[in-house]
């Protein structure tokens, strides 16, 4: 996976004229991100917040601003097309915040993104942040992050914030934080992110946060066993207290079989050499132990 999230990253926001898109475009800009344009079909030629040019299409936005990354807030029924438009226009990294995208659409889009070599993060994700480079492409509250060497990956938004809040309050900074999204099919997997962290020079240790449901965590564990990783990993699985057969908000978070249970995931990760975080209140405490 290629991922360029730094002060040179040029971002366009699809859906910038909507309530959420507009709010977060400005918050990203405030944090330091280069928001070079917005896209809303039919509103081309306008200026958002008197400063950010709005275009009718992604290709116009890209040709004019030289953007390489797109951040998507388009409502769910139209989000699949927004992703495809970005891919078709030659955008390198597409980050889709929108939740509620039909899974059957994602089956196809995942394949298209992969075939075109585009990094797609999400949908239904909080985005990506690089505190050192002051680059935030997503909806996370910027002020809780601090620069450092811990890479954080999670399916969930607010749970990522929880982890980061604990880390920063103990003076442990982050290299890059990625929320991959809670849907059954997402563009970037745990494995993609772990692979990236393992070869990323800035990242020296990793916080991995998984959830009940599916077998994505076990596959990440298998991957870790297959590579030569020397960076310590602290792993948390949430949802141990969730009942079987109930969908816990995230479409993927439902225990349907043995593999979906927290216990099975914890055992796999332990087996792969991860340090298990005993419960959600002890994320930073566990990281502190493994980095010292």
């Amino acid at each position: 996976m290629t991922l360029k999230i730094d002060r040179n990253t040029k971002v366009i926001v699809q859906g910038i004229t909507g309530k959420e898109g507009g709010f977060h475009a400005l918050k990203c800009q405030e944090y330091g991100t280069q928001i070079v344009g917005g896209v809303t079909p039919g509103k081309g030629g306008q200026l958002f917040n008197n400063s950010i040019p709005v275009f009718d299409s992604v290709i116009e936005a890209k040709d004019t601003t030289d953007a390489d990354t797109s951040l998507i807030f388009v409502p769910a029924p139209f989000a699949p097309d927004a992703i495809l438009e970005s891919i078709d226009s030659g955008i390198e990294t597409v980050i889709c915040i929108t939740e509620g995208v039909p899974v059957n659409e994602m089956i196809k889009i995942h394949k298209v993104a992969k075939d075109q070599g585009v990094t797609l993060i999400g949908p239904n994700c909080p985005g990506v942040i690089n505190p050192k480079e002051e680059c935030k492409i997503g909806i996370m509250p910027g002020d809780i992050f601090m620069p450092g060497n811990v890479g954080v990956v999670s399916r969930s938004g607010t749970l990522t914030y929880e982890a980061v809040d604990q880390l920063s309050k103990r003076g442990i900074g982050q290299s890059l934080c990625i929320g991959i999204g809670g849907d059954p099919i997402v563009g970037t997997s745990f494995i993609d992110v772990l692979d990236y962290f393992i070869s990323d020079d800035l990242t020296q240790s990793i916080v991995f946060i998984g959830e009940i449901g599916g077998i994505k965590e076990q596959e990440a564990a298998e991957f870790l066993k297959s590579v030569n990783n020397t960076k310590p990993i602290a792993a948390l699985i949430v949802g141990a207290s969730a009942p079987k057969g109930k969908r816990m908000g995230h479409a993927g978070a439902v225990i349907s079989g043995e593999y979906g249970k927290a216990e099975s995931k914890i055992n796999s990760l332990k087996d792969a050499g991860c340090h298990i975080i005993p419960h959600p209140g002890k994320i930073a405490e566990t990281v502190e132990k493994i980095i010292n």
């Binding site: 899974v103 089956i107 394949k111 509250p141 938004g157 929880e162 949430v238 079987k244 109930k246 908000g249």
Partner: protein, 385 residues
């Protein structure tokens, strides 16, 4: 979204997948009339949104009018539980009356999205009629999983492989091919999230029939599935969950005493885990969801308070677009509306305007403890055991 077996079978019929002849009745007289219209024994099946009906007595072969009457009187209008329903009861409003099938072999077929290979898969097993999870753990070699390429759909060589795996004779290939391709068509065109046939049978006259049928639909795709939306049976769902879902709040009632209100599904699960390690049980899962305002927050609180088992309410919020002062006012307006004694509150707020939010709450007349982090929440909870 779940539907009943009889509704799933009607969809199968539309897609040319064979099912046993059967009709659904809503009361004793109706199913008795249907029974009389068959000149043979029938199977009666309660229609509820729960698995494990057979083991719980909800599926019975009947040979006389008397047995039909007994079955109807036992189940119609009553709550039904199985080992899979976790103390929840499902009311029986419909019973399916079906012609008995003579069974030569039973197998299992399912279509579902598996996030691990990021695609739609066909799952097949020659061990039909059993709990598939049991098969998976006892004899995993009897389960075949094949990913379907979205460009081609299920291919002939894949279907030949399934035909062999199910130990079907070569002569069944054509029929199985039709079934699998039609299931795939149904899956995509109706935005299913699961189609499961357990068992898929071969009868003595050589036909392949879906003896049972389970279909669930992707709720995120219902906006474009008007016909499917009409199949929803609200009598099978928790009324508070239905009301909160209309506002975009994800609420699931559980059995414990600590109500919780959280934003974000992951943090909501983490919060439930903290309640658990503190020696208590969560009364619910609740994710307020995006775009929350004062009214939505207030409705979330009222939903939690509607559960009689709730003794403590735990609020864990990361303010973003949702400002904590707005949330605080929402919580207070719900408590003011609540006509019983308000339970004790434990509140943790971070992010946009959290200081202002805490100020508003501490100036209120309610009994509130504040926590700065999950460990502090846990410490307070431990004192409530």
């Amino acid at each position: 979204m779940k539907i009943h077996e009889y509704q799933a079978k009607e969809l199968f019929k539309d897609y040319d997948i064979n099912i046993p002849e059967g009709y659904v009745g809503e009361n004793k007289d109706e199913i008795l009339k249907i029974y009389k219209s068959f000149d043979d024994d029938v199977v009666l099946k309660v229609q509820v949104h729960a698995g494990g009906r057979g083991k719980a007595g909800g599926v019975r072969l009947v040979k006389s009018e008397q047995e039909v009457i007994e079955f109807a009187e036992k189940f119609f209008g009553k709550g039904f539980q199985t080992i899979q329903t976790e103390n929840e009861e499902f009311i029986v409003n419909k019973i399916l009356v079906e012609k008995v099938s003579d069974i030569n072999s039973e197998s299992y077929i399912a279509l579902l999205v598996d996030g691990s290979n990021q695609s739609l898969n066909i799952i097949a097993s020659p061990e039909g009629g059993m709990d598939i999870e049991e098969v998976a753990s006892k004899s995993p070699e009897n389960i075949l999983t094949l990913p379907i390429n979205v460009i081609t759909g299920p291919t002939d060589f894949q279907i030949r492989k399934i035909n062999n795996f199910l130990r079907y004779e070569q002569t069944y290939y054509g029929e199985l091919r039709k079934i699998i391709r039609n299931l795939y068509e149904l899956y995509l065109s109706k935005d299913c999230s699961l189609i499961e046939i357990n068992p898929l049978i071969q009868n003595k006259s050589g036909e392949i029939l879906a003896l049972d049928a389970k279909i669930t639909f992707d709720e995120d795709a219902l906006f474009r599935q008007n016909l499917i939306k009409e199949l929803r049976d609200l009598s099978q769902e928790n009324p508070v969950e239905i009301e909160t879902a209309k506002l975009g709040i994800k609420y699931i009632q559980l059995q414990g005493s600590v109500g919780c209100i959280v934003n974000g599904a992951g943090l909501a699960m983490a919060t439930m885990d903290v309640i658990n390690v503190s020696g208590l049980k969560p009364a619910n899962f609740l994710d307020i969801g995006g775009g929350a305002d004062e009214n939505k927050v207030s409705e979330a609180m009222l939903a939690v308070l509607s559960d009689q088992n709730v003794e403590v309410v735990l609020i864990n919020l990361f303010g973003g677009i949702l400002r904590c002062d707005v949330a605080a006012r929402g919580f207070l307006s719900a408590l003011d509306k609540y006509n019983k004694k308000a339970p004790e509150l434990i509140i943790r707020m971070l992010g946009t305007n959290s200081d202002k939010g805490k100020e508003i709450l501490s100036a209120s007349k309610y009994n509130i403890s504040f926590a700065d982090n999950l460990n502090e929440i846990s410490k307070i909870l431990i004192t409530k055991r």
